[in-house]
């Protein structure tokens, strides 16, 4: 895991980027630690790519300071920073062979021919594409090009590597394979990876820490586990898409315990997660794997709602069952096929969905 105590490799201090009247990145504070795999995640237009381009020196911040190793780099041109990037289009040089592509950065740094060749060959070897050294880029498959792009960026042995949705052009199977290549590479080299993606599965499967962005702002920073279990805002819960969300208002029940009043009923809140202010708007999120389905109203201290089954979707080993409450809210429950076997599911049939208050998680609106 990331050692948080040492000084950050990169820090963004109040960094903002405006294009005319459009604000791509709002005042942003972020610290990137040496050796971590950090994912910047969000939908398109959230400012993740602009942030990456500012790190690479392709855009200048409108406000704030970016520090690399403690030194401000705002005014440093791209070619004077060692912040190589793997581009979404890969941007390999089509008029150069594979090995010439990999040698490029070394050539620009004035290294001699034999030394360049030796280092490039090492990286081609490491990326398992040594046999293609003399080929043209157009003769390579998507996965092979990906490896050339990585070798071309890593050949200077930088402390940080920037990746801009590098896997988006690959098919699903290759994507999964390249994810493990990237993760292994990062662990072995200890190079800090900053990985921009809109894909939750890519971010969560590779990154040590994930930064979720929306409309130029950071919504949440945390490990994939933290974010998954405890989304900080309604936006994050929505974005992850794996929780049922009940919007409502904080209040207290007859015994003075905090509850959330929603259109589907009053729900008990998890202990320790309940903020004090009554009357405040908030949402309760419950992971779709933590909900139970009952044919009869459940007994005991569980939150429950009545809902009608409206559909069923098979997802490999599990199934997702879709429900609708009387007031039209859609809910989902994910269960293994064994758990569902004795429920005699049928579309249109009424059920009760329940969860333990401890499995709920309260988020800000």
């Amino acid at each position: 895991m990331t050692p948080v105590t040492q000084a950050p490799l990169v820090s963004l201090e109040g960094v903002a980027k405006h294009f005319g009247t459009y604000t791509a990145v709002q005042k942003m504070d972020l610290q990137i630690h040496e050796g971590e795999f950090l994912a910047l995640m969000g939908s398109s237009g959230c400012g993740k790519t602009t942030t990456l381009r500012m790190l690479a020196g392709l855009e200048a911040p409108s406000e704030g300071v970016i520090r690399l190793d403690g030194k401000p780099i705002n005014d440093l041109p791209s070619w004077s920073r060692d912040t190589p990037m793997v581009w979404q289009s890969l941007a390999l040089f089509p008029f150069l062979t594979v090995i010439e592509n990999v040698e490029f950065a070394l050539k620009m740094r004035g290294l001699g021919r034999t030394e360049r060749r030796r280092r490039a060959e090492q990286w081609l070897d490491r990326m398992q594409i040594a046999e293609f050294a003399g080929r043209n880029i157009s003769q390579l498959s998507g996965g092979q090009r990906q490896r050339v792009a990585l070798a071309r960026s890593l050949v200077i042995e930088p402390r940080i590597l920037l990746l801009d949705e590098p896997l988006s052009a690959l098919d699903a199977a290759l994507k999964v394979r390249m994810q493990s290549v990237l993760k292994t590479l990062q662990r072995e080299t200890g190079i800090t990876f900053v990985y921009v993606t809109h894909s939750q599965s890519e971010a969560f499967s590779m990154a040590d820490r994930v930064v979720i962005m929306s409309r130029g702002k950071i919504e949440q920073i945390g490990t994939p586990q933290d974010i998954y279990r405890a989304p900080r805002t309604r936006f994050v819960a929505d974005f992850l898409g794996s929780s049922n969300i009940f919007p409502g208002q904080l209040t207290r029940d007859g015994q003075g315990r905090p509850v959330l009043a929603t259109s589907s009923g009053d729900f008990a809140l998890p202990a320790g997660n309940a903020p004090g202010i009554a009357g405040q708007a908030a949402s309760l999120t419950v992971l779709d794997t933590r909900m139970q389905i009952h044919p009869q109203p459940p007994q005991g201290a569980r939150n429950s709602v009545a809902a009608r089954m409206i559909g069923e979707e098979f997802v490999g080993a599990t199934a997702t069952i879709h429900f609708e409450t009387d007031n039209g809210q859609e809910l989902r429950v994910q269960k293994s096929h064994e758990d569902l076997a004795d429920l005699s599911l049928a579309i249109g049939k009424p059920f009760y969905l329940s969860w333990s208050p401890a499995d709920g998680h309260l988020v800000q609106e």
Partner: protein, 271 residues
């Protein structure tokens, strides 16, 4: 090419299109072919039936020192025009590719304007201007005048190539440690190389054939097309056919070279 289902083709339309293409080519090339044929004909005047096969007109042309002088001027001008207008065209195309600025549309319209100006007006204007600054009447004047009409062709050809370049390619070079100059030298120019050579050949061919402007500004340093007019004014001689055939072959060679280079870059790249 994909084989289309023959059932989707109307034989009548196919036939008509084929005839149209053949007639168009016949119309364009018949005079050139005739000139070519008569250049090897021993008769003094072009008439049918043909006389004997003869290379005497070529020998006559080759023996004429004025023709050699004209050819030397033409080649000198052609090479100069090719190099200068390709360099200017590249600069203009790169500016358009890389930068956005106020009045860019006007800039582009002005840059591409010269070939649309009638050559007589252009020639006259060039003569008036160049004589004012004491530059008219030598090969340099022809080069200047031809660069004005040729640079837009070079710009158009190179601009097309730049539009095929991945916009990330140049930033990728900077990102890997190349300064702007290094990125230009190691990425932009190599990427554009086929178009640059193509532009060089096209502009040379345009200059090689150009008559009207050269006639105005060349003074005593006449280029070959201007010399040909001199022949015509003196007497109608089959030597003209010989010169014409030669000029045609040189121009065609340059254009075919350009076409081969540009055709290769336009072919879909596997991405």
């Amino acid at each position: 090419m994909n084989r289309e289902n023959e059932a989707n083709r109307n034989p009548l339309i196919n036939g008509a299109l084929l005839a149209y293409v053949l007639l168009a080519y016949l119309f364009v090339f018949a005079p050139i072919v005739a000139s070519f044929v008569f250049s090897f004909n021993s008769d003094r005047f072009p008439s049918i039936p043909l006389g004997d096969f003869s290379t005497e007109w070529y020998r006559a042309v080759a023996a004429d020192p004025l023709v050699w002088q004209g050819l030397r001027n033409t080649l000198l001008v052609g090479v100069g025009v090719g190099v200068i207008s390709t360099a200017l065209g590249f600069g203009a195309a790169y500016t358009d590719h890389r930068y956005n600025f106020l009045g860019k549309q006007v800039y582009l319209a002005l840059a591409l304007l010269p070939p649309t100006i009638p050559v007589v007006i252009m020639g006259l204007a060039m003569l008036a201007f160049l004589s004012r600054v004491n530059l008219s009447g030598d090969a340099g004047a022809v080069i200047i005048a031809h660069v004005v009409i040729c640079a837009p062709f070079a710009m158009a050809v190179i601009r097309l190539r730049l539009s095929q370049m991945d916009p990330s390619l140049e930033p990728a070079a900077w990102n890997l440690g190349a300064s702007e100059w290094a990125a230009m030298r190691h990425v932009v120019i190599p990427f554009c190389r086929p178009a640059i050579l193509g532009a060089l050949f096209v502009t040379m061919a345009v200059s090689f054939d150009e008559f009207a402007i050269a006639w105005f500004v060349s003074g005593l340093n006449e280029t070959l097309p201007v010399k040909v007019l001199g022949f015509l004014q003196g007497q109608v001689s089959p030597r003209i056919n010989a010169v014409g055939t030669f000029v045609f072959i040189v121009s065609m060679t340059l254009l075919i070279l350009a076409q081969l280079l540009l055709g290769r870059t336009a072919a879909p790249r596997k991405e």
